[in-house]
Every structure is written in C-alpha cells, then in structure tokens.
C-alpha cells in the first residue's frame, strides 16, 4: 500500500519533469539560427515552396501552438517527421535506441563487475598495499571522464595493441540475419556466436570507457560500506562459527553493504547513459547519441525533440526501477 502510493507519487513527479524537459527543449531549439527548411530545397525554390514546406512541418504557427500540436502527437505516439532523414522520428529513434541500450547495459555490467571486484579485493586486503593501490586506481578512474578514457583506449587497444575494433557497431560487410535492432541479444539467441564476437569487439572499448568512472565510484563506495559492515557484531559472530574471510565478506557483509551502492548506481547509471552521446560519437557507434549530434548539426528540430524526450524517459525509468529494486531487496522496507 505504502509502496503503491510511493510509486504513484513518483509517476506524478516524473510526468512534471518530462513536461519541463519538453518545454525547455522546444523553446531552446526554436531559437536555433539557420533555416532547416531552406537547406532542404534547391537554391532556385520560390518563396511559396518555402512557405508550403514550413506549413508542412508546422513552423508557421506560434511556439505555444506548435507545442500543443507536437504534445498531442506525442501522446498519440506521433513524434513528427525528421527533416534531414525524412522518416517518422519515432521509427528512427526506436531503430537506434536498442544499440544505445545494449551499450549502456554492457557498460553497467562491466562497471559493476570491475567495481565489485575492486571493492571485494580491497576489503579482503584491507590495510595493505593492495588496498592502497586500489584506492589510487579508483581515484584516477573517477576523476577522468568517459570521453578521455575512450581516447586513451583508442590509442591503447586500437593503435598500440590493435585487438579491438575502434569504430562502428558491427563490421560493415557482414550479413546480418537480425529482425530486431538488439543485435547482441539476438546474436546470442540465434547462437551466431561469430556475430556476438564481432559485436563485442566493437562494443568493448566504448563500453569500457563508459564503465571506468562508474566502476571507480562503485568500488570506492562499496568498499567503504563493506569495511564498515565487517566490524558489526553479526559478522564477528559468523567468524566464530568457523567461516573464513571470503564467506564472511560475500555472504554476511555484502548483502547488507550493497544497498547504499545500489541507490548510487541509479543516479550514476543515468550519467552513464548521458555519456553515450559523446562516446558513441568517438567510436562512430550507430546509437541514439550519435544520431542526436547529427540531428543538432543538421538542425533537425523534430528529431532533436524526439531524442531528448526518449533520453529523459530513459533516465526517469532507470530511477524508478532502482527505487523499486531497493525496496524489494531491503527486508525492512518489504515488511513495513
């Protein structure tokens, strides 16, 4: 009951936030100089041609009117038509979203694994040089953003030891049997592991670049709460039962130490998704972020609006999922 009320309240704030995002992006991009319509037409187009096209995209109306028309469309699943690509925005966005989702989730998995291993190792070896080394590595990984990690990885694994692909999502001349855009998932389901390997080879560096700062944050926070938990009485009691350090850390301390880290991952995962915009650009990965930058450069107003709204939806959805996971994992909340 309490949980339901919390969820409903959260949905209401989410709606307000999305509305705010829509208003801001709508107003900001309508100040964009440069006439996208003029770019679509041959130089000898008449003023009448321009007016007709403006009317087609609705740019002849006032901004509030345009917003209402657009908002009404969005509520009915119509995000308008891209000016530069001349296709429905929704289809374009949905076509690219899976690529970005696969990249983000892969990065999240890498961050959790790396950060988790760092935290567990640091706890196991607390007070030693190993822990001090992990602290320094965490400090560096945390202070340097994904964009720079991407460039460093390009030099390291793309040029010095060229073991991974540095551009694109998949090798272009491969024949793809896929029916959805979730290439990685589908390649596994179809047991086409050759394609899985190719996709992973392309995904590895952008995902790692996105993962490193988050891995460091997870590593540091989780290690800190693990170390605090290790002093608690129930952990000590478990030791007297005959259990070793590994069991004590993994089964007694970890489940209780993980909750604060989990909340943090929620916010940080939205930052990570935000980072895909530039990292996809850096690795020419054909995702939503890369398309967004093209849309801005081409002044493709409907496409920009659509992409920003999808990102905002994604962010708020992530936060909602994290809150619910938190409630589900915490027995004290579950039985409240």
């Amino acid at each position: 009951m309490l949980l339901l009320r919390t969820i409903l309240a959260r949905l209401a704030t989410t709606a307000v936030t999305l509305f705010g995002v829509a208003v801001i992006v709508f107003v900001v991009i309508r100040v964009v100089p440069g006439n996208p319509i003029a770019m679509m037409l041959p130089p000898n187009a008449t003023a009448a041609d321009i007016d007709r096209l403006r009317a087609l995209y609705g740019f002849d109306k006032s901004i509030p009117q345009q917003f209402l028309i657009w908002g009404w469309g969005v509520l009915h699943g119509d995000f308008g038509t891209s000016i530069s690509l001349r296709q429905p925005v929704l289809g374009l966005v949905l076509g690219r979203l899976p690529a970005t989702l696969e990249l983000s989730v892969m990065a999240l998995v890498m961050a959790v694994l790396l950060g988790g291993v760092a935290a567990l190792t640091g706890t196991r070896k607390r007070g030693t040089r190993v822990e001090a080394g992990i602290d320094v590595a965490n400090g560096v990984a945390m202070s340097v953003p994904d964009f720079l990690w991407g460039l460093l990885l390009i030099i390291l694994f793309g040029v010095l030891v060229p073991v991974f692909q540095i551009s694109g999502r998949v090798t272009p001349d491969l024949k793809l049997p896929f029916t959805t855009q979730f290439y990685l998932v589908e390649s596994v389901l179809r047991l086409r592991f050759d394609l899985t390997a190719d996709l992973l080879s392309h995904m590895f560096m952008p995902a790692l670049a996105l993962a490193l700062p988050l891995a460091a944050i997870i590593g540091q926070l989780l290690k800190q709460s693990l170390k605090e938990t290790m002093h608690l009485d129930y952990v000590t009691l478990t030791r007297t039962k005959g259990y070793g350090e590994n069991h004590v850390i993994l089964r007694e301390a970890l489940p209780n130490a993980i909750l604060p880290t989990l909340t943090l991952i929620g916010v940080q995962f939205t930052f990570l998704i935000g980072g895909t915009v530039i990292v996809e650009r850096l690795f020419s990965y054909e995702g939503l972020g890369n398309m967004a930058i093209d849309a801005v450069i081409n002044r493709d107003l409907p496409l920009i609006q659509g992409i920003v709204i999808v990102f905002a939806l994604l962010f708020t959805a992530v936060n909602l999922v994290v809150d619910m996971t938190y409630a589900a994992l915490n027995p004290r909340l579950r039985h409240a």
């Binding site: 991009i29 915009v277 962010f315």
Partner: protein, 292 residues
C-alpha cells in the same frame, strides 16, 4: 614460539594518509602551475607559430625519432603545424574556460543551492524541480544543443557550461545548507534577531565554503573537458585557434598515420583534468578537521 594471529599489518592510518594527501596536492598543484605558466607565457615560450602551416613538413614525428626536422619537438600535424606550440597556446583557451566558466558555475549554482537549502519553502520547491528537470537531460547533448543555438565561440562555451552544470553545485550546496541550517548556531543567530539573509551569508556560507572550493576545482577540470568535447564535435571556437579538443579531433582522424597528433594533447588534457580533481580533493581534505 609466539605466533601472531594471521592477518594484515595495519599501517598507521592518519600519518600515511596525510603524507599521501600532501604529495597529491603538490603533484597536481605543480602541473596546474606549469599549465598556467605556459598559458601566460605562450607568445614567448612556444617554439613555433601555432598557426603557421607548412605542407612540406606535415606529420613530422617527435624529436626522438631519427630523420625528423629539429625545432618541432613533439612533431607536426597534417598541415605542418607544430604540436608543442599548439598545446601551449591551447592551454590559454583551456584555462580561460576553466576559470571563467568554473567560477560562474560555482557562483550561480551555489547561490541557488544556498537559497533552496536555507530558505526552503517555494524557492526550494522551484529550484529542486528545476534540478530534477535538468537531471533528465543528457548534459553533453544539452551543451551541443546550446552551442548550436548560441553559435560557436568562447562566450557560448562558457554560457553552455554554466547552463548545464549549475545543478552540480545547487544539489550539493542545498544539502549542506540544509544540514547547517538545522544546527544550534544558526538557531541562536535567529533568536538574536539577525536577518535571514545575513545569517545565510555570514553564518552558513563560510561553513559550506570548503565544499564549494573542492567542487569548483572539480568543475574547472570538467569545463576543460566540455570545451574539448565541443571542439571534438566541431562546435567550439573558430577552427584556426588552437584548442586541445580541436587537436584531439584532428588526431583522432589520423591516429593510424601520426599518433603523436592525438597522444600529446591528450596527455596534456588528461593530466590537467586529473590535477584539477585531485587538487580539489586535496584541498577538501586539508579543510577536513578529522585529518588535520
């Protein structure tokens, strides 16, 4: 024979931490001073004209490679421009953006955070709602969008950074101001009849200042990165002014032919960003009464 319980040797915590912190502060501060000096003295210390093109001496490797031309220490790019000179001149743009954008972001964000955290009420509701909306934007996309609207240029970059990043300060300072506002010394100032605005500036601000300073240093590093990212997507300053981001964008394209065009500005950017954040952390720990 006495046996000790197996386990690890404890370091003497505080002394070791303090030593490590001191080193961190000195290293990062040293690098930042070096960059500042390079930026100030650029016209006198850069060995070449950063804009001089010479297609005959394009993509010269750095000095340690035999059969390279002397005078181009870190090599040249595809247009024959000296990489070292461009890095030195690029430090100017990087530091101007860092200081101006960082300070403006800190001032505006902290002011909003203080107001929201101390006055609460409708101001807090409004500012918090704005922060929520901002958090739902991918920041890089937002910045690119703003530059597209404002047009390229140093001013636009600074404005874009302030607009996308004020929330970082607002969020943290709001929480800190709320904590401070609940403390006894604030209550006693209120009882003494001090005006609320005075309390905020004279009582609360000094107590959140260490946090602001640490965040400011971090923000300066982030500003340098944002400038580089915008240069990278070709939306920064005019192309003939050397910037680290612009050099990296060029270097990324020709990385297989001339790695040094990418690597050296990247190292400069990496160390600068790392130093800004470590310097901030070091300062914060200096202010931390537990470790002092």
């Amino acid at each position: 024979m006495p046996r000790s319980i197996p386990g690890c040797v404890m370091l003497d915590g505080r002394a070791a931490i303090r030593r490590r912190l001191g080193l961190r502060l000195w290293l990062s501060g040293g690098w930042l001073a070096l960059v500042l000096l390079a930026a100030l003295l650029a016209p006198w210390i850069s060995p070449q004209d950063p804009l001089a093109q010479d297609l005959m001496s394009g993509r010269l490797p750095p000095f340690w490679v035999p059969q390279t031309e002397p005078g181009f220490w870190l090599g040249t790019d595809s247009l024959g421009r000296d990489v070292l000179s461009r890095i030195i001149w690029g430090a100017r743009v990087a530091l101007i953006v860092a200081f101006v954008a960082g300070t403006l972001t800190a001032t505006i964000g902290s002011a909003l955070g203080l107001i929201a955290g101390y006055f609460r009420g409708w101001a807090d509701r409004l500012i918090s709602r704005l922060v929520d909306i901002w958090m739902a934007f991918p920041p890089v996309l937002f910045a690119i969008l703003l530059i597209a609207v404002l047009g390229p240029g140093l001013m636009s970059i600074i404005i874009a950074i302030v607009v996308i990043d004020w929330t970082r300060f607002a969020r943290v300072i709001r929480a800190e101001a709320m904590n401070q506002g609940a403390m006894d010394y604030v209550a006693s100032a209120q009882v003494a009849g001090m005006p609320r605005g005075r309390i905020m500036l004279a009582e609360i601000l000094p107590n959140v200042l260490p946090t602001i300073v640490a965040l400011l240093s971090l923000e300066m590093g982030i500003s340098v990165i944002v400038e580089a990212i915008l240069s990278f997507v070709n939306l920064s300053i005019s192309t003939d002014q050397p910037t680290w981001g612009g050099m990296i964008a060029e270097g990324r394209i020709s990385v297989h032919q001339a790695w040094w065009v990418l690597v050296f500005p990247l190292i400069a950017l990496f160390l600068t960003v790392l130093s800004f954040s470590q310097f901030g952390e070091g300062l914060k720990d200096r202010f931390d009464p537990v470790l002092r």
